[in-house]
Symmetry: C2
Subunit: 118 residues, 2 copies
């Protein structure tokens, strides 16, 4: 693992140092929802780009949130699984989802229909 | 309020569109912890810069998470309060804190001692 940047002793700021961006938890959501492979992650409603996806998967590995396993050797292809530390983010995703449904989706109920995990 | 960018119908991605960065929830944490004024926000262990703080406070207002009130007219000075939508982020902060204490702080218990809300 890389040396990690942590701004302060506050656990909230520390959590945001790790997962405080717009994409990391989207990939965690996808793996919790059953996706394992690169092409599956690309095929989400957020249209993540290959550059961002490759960078986020590497980052998730470096942070100990994800493990990868080769499922094909020629050419090399990987499947991704959450570690225990990664699965432990489930309550964070649940809290984000509950807040969003209450405070964003009720203004526009039609939007929630296309959610992969709603 | 500005027109908002929302990537997908997923409530998790939508929540991250709003608060998926390293600073927004740090300011929400400070207001929940009793801070109200610009100088108080600057005085945290994360050493937020004036540029980022001014931009985050404006953003929090635009997203309907914070209201400001003038407490001094000459020169004009504001106090900031969370809206109901902003206070409703408390379970997100609680989940981030619990995850961080379990998965980041136990590796380095001394760090947690300086936390403003631990």
């Amino acid at each position: 693992m890389n040396e990690k940047i942590r701004r302060s002793p506050c656990p909230i700021a520390t959590a945001l140092d790790v997962i405080g961006d717009k994409w990391t938890l989207v990939v965690v959501r996808d793996i919790l929802g059953g996706k394992k492979r690169y092409g599956e992650f690309l095929d989400g409603p957020e249209r993540i780009t290959t550059n961002i996806l490759a960078q986020r998967l590497k980052y998730l590995e470096d942070e100990g949130l994800v493990l990868k396993f080769a499922y094909c050797e020629h050419p090399i292809r990987y499947e991704y699984e959450l570690t225990e530390k990664g699965r432990a983010l489930t309550p964070v995703l649940d809290a984000l989802k509950a807040w969003s449904i209450e405070w964003e989706m009720k203004k526009d109920p039609g939007r929630a229909a296309g959610c992969p995990i709603a």
